[in-house]
Symmetry: C2
Subunit: 385 residues, 2 copies
């Protein structure tokens, strides 16, 4: 086991009807800015429920945080907070709204140009406005971690920052708020959560016995509930379990003392940047190919994954690994998500450009052993054809 620190002070308030708890979670004299993404929270009544719970507090709203939240949009929220002298932020939405709120919180009192927060990966953040979240879309885990990804439209730079100052004070997880989500977003959320776990689990054995068991438990649960989630929107138990799995998949716990990969995410980011493919769909394309290309370096963990997660015990080691990768791909396909580049209209002629993007963005030493060079990235993309 590696040395580690684990610290996560976010309060999770989970269950049906918990939005009413806002009245005790937010100070009675708080001056609140509610941050929103699209129109859904306004249309489906969630925003009305939030406003009712906040009662007589002075509340402003900020609409229009994009799926990949932009610096340009978020800086408008920063101005509004400063102008109205607001002192508490409340994100109502999914991972993008929460990520955006984290940036706004850190930018308010930032000494300098706030984009530096991203350039320094959060190291220069020394304080942040307190904020909470009401989660409506399980997927990214942002509701219980200290990470955020922001895009600067002017330069197309998409950067991440982390800071212990941007843990949400609380996150309200009411599974009934997911009932109105499009099926496409549920499917994406399952694949996103699954891949979050895999990036922290499927590396090389590092004696993190509990982390492995917990990761396997999250994967098994996603496999168990994934396809069922697509069948029925208002099954409370299924939605509740999905919501909690997605949070635990990226709250620091299963990654606490183990090597981590994240090359699937970074290669996937280039696909989103160039073709605007949903983030989760890029992961479904890259992950099976990534496991196939790097099967030698991931040999031990792939065998463990085959046995413990998929129950594969028959055949040679190579056959078991092939079977586990095939099952992973089939699972994504069972969620209605295609897993090959040509499914998205991308053929071999594009790969050179994508590899060039990886190089241009400095993504030349990826993975748990820093050995995923652009050449390896090229082989992964070729295996995705």
């Amino acid at each position: 086991m590696l040395n580690f620190e684990f610290f996560n002070p976010t309060r999770i308030v989970f269950g049906q009807g918990t939005i009413a708890r806002l009245d005790t979670l937010v100070a009675s004299d708080a001056r609140v800015l509610i941050l929103l993404g699209g129109e859904s929270a306004r249309k489906n009544g969630t925003l009305a429920e939030v406003r009712a719970a906040l009662g007589a507090r002075e509340v402003y709203e900020f609409d229009g945080i994009e799926p990949n939240p932009s610096y340009e949009t978020l800086m408008k929220a920063v101005s509004l907070v400063r102008e109205k002298k607001l002192d508490f932020l409340l994100a109502v939405g999914g991972g993008s709204v929460i990520d955006g709120t984290k940036f706004v919180a850190a930018a308010i009192d930032y000494d300098g140009e706030p984009w530096d927060i991203l350039e320094t990966r959060g190291d220069t953040v020394t304080s942040a406005l307190p904020f909470g979240s009401v989660l409506t879309l399980p997927a990214t885990g942002s509701e219980m971690n200290d990470g955020s990804v922001v895009t600067r439209r002017a330069t197309q730079a998409k950067l991440a920052f982390t800071s212990p100052h941007v843990f949400p004070r609380f996150s309200i997880l009411d599974p009934t708020k997911t009932y109105t989500l499009p099926i496409r977003q549920i499917a994406n959320g399952v694949v996103d959560s699954f891949t979050h776990v895999m990036e922290q689990y499927l590396t090389y054995p590092a004696d993190g016995l509990v982390q492995d068991r917990f990761a396997e438990g999250l994967l098994q649960t996603l496999i168990e509930i994934g396809p069922k989630l697509l069948e029925k929107a208002d099954d409370y138990e299924l939605r509740a379990n999905f919501m909690w799995v997605a949070t635990l998949a990226l709250n620091g716990l299963i990654g606490a003392d183990v090597p981590q990969d994240w090359s699937t995410h970074i290669i996937g980011h280039e696909l989103t940047a160039r073709y605007n493919i949903d983030h989760a769909r890029t992961l479904a394309v890259v992950l099976p190919a990534n496991l196939q290309v790097r099967r030698a370096a991931k040999h031990g963990k792939l065998l463990q994954y085959a046995q413990r997660v998929w129950g594969i015990t028959q055949g040679s080691e190579d056959e078991r690994i092939d079977a586990a990768i095939d099952r992973t791909r089939a699972f994504f396909e069972s969620m209605g998500i295609q897993t090959r580049l040509p499914d998205y209209g991308i053929d071999a002629s594009e790969i050179g450009t994508l590899v060039g993007q990886l190089r241009a963005h400095g993504m030349v030493e990826l993975g748990e052993r820093k050995d995923v060079t652009p050449e390896v990235g090229q082989r992964i993309l070729e295996a995705s054809l």
Copy 2:
């Protein structure tokens, strides 16, 4: 899934050499009281390492917190803190020292007679002195939760309290600090952790899919490493995994949204109170008998436990349940811990007295369904013969 809140702000600092981190974890102008149990931390160098890390800070020591920490002893520490105007507490030891430190922290500014903290189960605690811990004995989980058990010697009352004010600010978990522990304490710690998980897991199915998987992962890890822990004191990986499992077994996570039992603990407490048997050993006696007597009410979970934790898939349902209970008992015995009352010199003639104790202490509605009456307790004790 039940509605729940999960909040745990304790910072875990884990790994070899981490005691040196005290210098950044404790304010440089803090006036510190170190609280200690027996002589071991003084003898094996841990105290010296702690004092070196604290450098020039003003530091006092308080020795002699007992294995079941007493109100009488702890109130002396309260006096010392008040007299010397100390502002930070540091527990160096196992669960009893940390439990005791929590009481001292809550008592310092308590408005009234501090024993009321226990009488009110912590509800009346509105603040506490900040404190951290250096854990030397993995077992109770106190290093990452907000619970404490204190005994008043004068009346032999043993009461528990919880309060969000008594989460440790940080806990340092250095696995090498367990190398000098007597084997008996390691064995006790494994059985204690195992039973903590079982009290939260082996009740009735409640659709907490992840909580079940996590609980099973902790049990599987304890089964995997338990006997090996007894063989070699300085195996870092084994000790590290044990230390982290024991913490996760009772930090609120696996119990967040599920029914809980705890009748094994309460019946066990009576055995400790009357015969001074180690806490963990009482659990090893009571748990297998408890599962046997209440097998109908726990039917679904016992089958799941048999299959997922022990890999038992052959035989009738009753046979599989019998096999799982037998394996549980055999696991405790493999840790060198006996599992029958006569092994501790207790025969059937004592059972009436023990059941009388349960009644006298108001322990008449135990278990996840409040149906473990003293009559059921009697059958459990009879099944322990």
